[in-house]
Symmetry: C2
Subunit: 552 residues, 2 copies
Amino acid sequence: MNVVEQLQEVRKWTKRRDEKNRRMSLVKSWLRGSILPTDHIVNALEALISSGDKVALEGNNQKQATFLSGALSKLDTHKVNNLHMLISSISRPEHLDIFEKGIARKLDFAYAGPQSLRIAQMIEDRLIEVGVIHTYLELYGRMFIDLIPNIALVAADKADLAGNLYTGPNTEETPTLVEATAFSNGIVIVQVNEIVDELPRVDIPASWVDVIVVADKPYQLEALFTRDPRQITEMQILMAMMAIRGVYERHQVMSLNHGIGFNTAAIELLLPTYGASLGLRGKICKHWALNPHPTLIPAIESGWVESIHCFGGEKGMEAYIAARPDIFFTGKDGSLRSNRAYCQMAGMYGVDLFIGSTLQMDEEGNSSTVTSGRLAGFGGAPNMGSDPHGRRHSSPAWLDMVSNEGTIVRGKKLVVQMFETFQKGDQPTFVESLDAVAVGQDANLPIAPVMIYGDDVTHVITEEGIAYLYKAQNLEERKLALAAVAGVTPLGLNHILSLNEQLRKDGLIAFPEDLGIRRTDAKRSLLAAKSVEELVEWSDGLYKPPGKFRSW
Amino acid sequence: MNVVEQLQEVRKWTKRRDEKNRRMSLVKSWLRGSILPTDHIVNALEALISSGDKVALEGNNQKQATFLSGALSKLDTHKVNNLHMLISSISRPEHLDIFEKGIARKLDFAYAGPQSLRIAQMIEDRLIEVGVIHTYLELYGRMFIDLIPNIALVAADKADLAGNLYTGPNTEETPTLVEATAFSNGIVIVQVNEIVDELPRVDIPASWVDVIVVADKPYQLEALFTRDPRQITEMQILMAMMAIRGVYERHQVMSLNHGIGFNTAAIELLLPTYGASLGLRGKICKHWALNPHPTLIPAIESGWVESIHCFGGEKGMEAYIAARPDIFFTGKDGSLRSNRAYCQMAGMYGVDLFIGSTLQMDEEGNSSTVTSGRLAGFGGAPNMGSDPHGRRHSSPAWLDMVSNEGTIVRGKKLVVQMFETFQKGDQPTFVESLDAVAVGQDANLPIAPVMIYGDDVTHVITEEGIAYLYKAQNLEERKLALAAVAGVTPLGLNHILSLNEQLRKDGLIAFPEDLGIRRTDAKRSLLAAKSVEELVEWSDGLYKPPGKFRSW
């Protein structure tokens, strides 16, 4: 026997497949095809999951595998413990309960908005061992590399008897989690709302799926991307006018992603009014990587928008989307197909601009939404809010960011931060040191959890004006431009006002008057819709807002 | 009628769907289910494609939709012309013939290796209007944003009578092109090698597909990732030893992507010998984003490799992969599922290191494989060979690249360039100005087509030593470190040798002796396999190399 033969003798190459077959044989008698009776779920999970497994549990921003996460939290810790959870968005209490109970031990995640306070405390108390905190794309990427799931627990709308799945508009991350698991001999377990004879369309083929279970009630779905226009202030309208005039028009921004705040909702609602008055329809903002924001309805109806690709769906927008197939990605059945991984990829690599808001920014332009005691994670913002150095295709906006001379240059993605100089409660947004630094230290993170780094930011918009950071030749100039729009925050008060004339001349800053904007014009009457009710009107009754947004 | 009603009156929202239905009705009588008779393909394409359409034609590195691209080149230009082609890899003569004939006019592409000379000439002659040159991920991303296909022409192995598709190991970009087209009311046309009663597995569901046609012969598949160990030189072995010692071991590189050259093949073949002698098994190189390189077989068989996710397949590796499901991503049927988009995403975001080679590098570390008169495009290298600024998760290797101090820092992806100081024909690799600069000007590109920018490169390895560029505090230090390993090229000859002692002390460069490597140890006898025949032996006969690699 030579060395090669000896090595092959000892090594087995089908451990994952054999183990999968072993576990599946334990539940075989309960299955009809791949369908498991609802009341067998806890027993089945105890048979199919082994201690120490890597378990990908679907937790999106919106769609939650609530039935499966609930069942997981009921497992007998003598049978199943020390799981390594992969959860993109920690949204449900039971996502953390399983750590308190000892069912799970290690956690890789991307976002923990609703649970950010509790998760920070549990990490400090060593109830959770954090792998690392990712962005969505990184976590998905590593599921194909070194965080390969043994188990996927996901949610779909419907299954047929053959085991094919229909996810409906909130396709989101389901296909990605399933692909990573199914093709590595992991076990794919799906909760569905119902089993039907014929699916509207197939989103995931039966041959990728192992176990299907009808949930006791439909999966949770959150309307996270709905902003009521009533709450948009005139300060936000002023900033939105500056964004349209001083960024979108100036750089011919054709494709973009918006954050989910009221600031960007204001921009969406100004396109058909202020934007139209500037003659910009068809010249900016034609292509979007965006969840179906209801506040974009007036711009769509007014012919501004050519296409929207979505990370996920949005409650209430189903009928409107189905009636606008030229704009939205929809299947043969007419309903949306979203895709979180592809939309993040497109939002990072395929668009001119990202614009979002933040809670804190330091004097170098680093920013974070992490505030004291809360560990919210990153979500997808850093994917979009960074300059992708691998980008090689150009567009007018991207080329506008070329700031150095020479034969070897490159453009930049436009990364815009837009916020008021003070947050509610009179906390200055510009701070000496980000809270993220202390939070990172408390949670023993290797580096501070910065959401967007200053060297990636090209523009900062406050109610004072715009800082054109991409024009700064060095860190000093970047700091000066920021201080010039920092208002009466400590950073702004220390700024030497006499420098502003030169900064304006150099194009490093612009005030509203430099952009032809009168502060007194920033009125709520400019909004194309001033309430959710008016959004419904614009949609011809197709948009059906969830109850909490109905005030009429 | 109010303004909203007026706008809605004039706007139609189902143009794409209506147009698709109109076109499909023209071919309906020829279809049985979705299956079109082979000899009807030209007529069918003339009915289904309209002048000016955006047409995504599957051209991977490996798998080519040859039957469909051949049919496309036979269209009557009076009926179909001025198409806007989206082709990730220009590999076939007919990919360019259609431009000469006037069937197509505009081109967005990512790579044009085999056709790089002809494409450069055709652009200069204005036979092709180039949209822009992308990397793969950018082109895929934009297919969901502003380059949404009207038509997809793709290749699969098999279809069933219901219209489901099995792509086999070379899944590659097919699902991505189909998703972008199917969910935007485009028309998806698939060539298959055969129609069967039952598929081994479903890669793409029938509800995403419109027309299936059995090709006159199987699609073309190229073995592009096979390197014959016979051709590996001792110079390459020396550099490979430096890479293992001075980069992989030093930074604990656990997950990585290799380029396709002989340099990296040498590393793969040294892991089970030189790497083992350093006690590194299990400590480096466990997880890979990589095509199934045959030269990785000895490392797999020796227990170095835990997982490999693939962009595509490789001819001859099918049976070996099917027998190693713990390592490769395989379906229930046992065959590989590759995925170009996900693997690029993982290779960019999810791994510690990219290492590749280049033909030219300038004194600042910018590099390109574009040489005079050839416009090869970018492919996927810039995705992998750049620092992804959106990355937020850390690993020991990534943290090792933190070079500045302070509370706000971040790591870097390891981007390694490895090449000999002279190319064949005694052309120095270090040049004063990249040929890419002139080629870009000739082709009227907005900026020079640089493959990897100097500021993204962390390490350069030549036969002289390693330049640790991530340690350079400024451009001057970066230039000095590069010159120190530039040998007797003009750049190297101008370097002041007396500086080297300080550069070594500062850790900016290392010579083989600094790494404990004797140049005389770099022998071919170190290779775990010295020929393709020995790779076959390592694989226990499972690897079945294509004829051109069989010399025994």
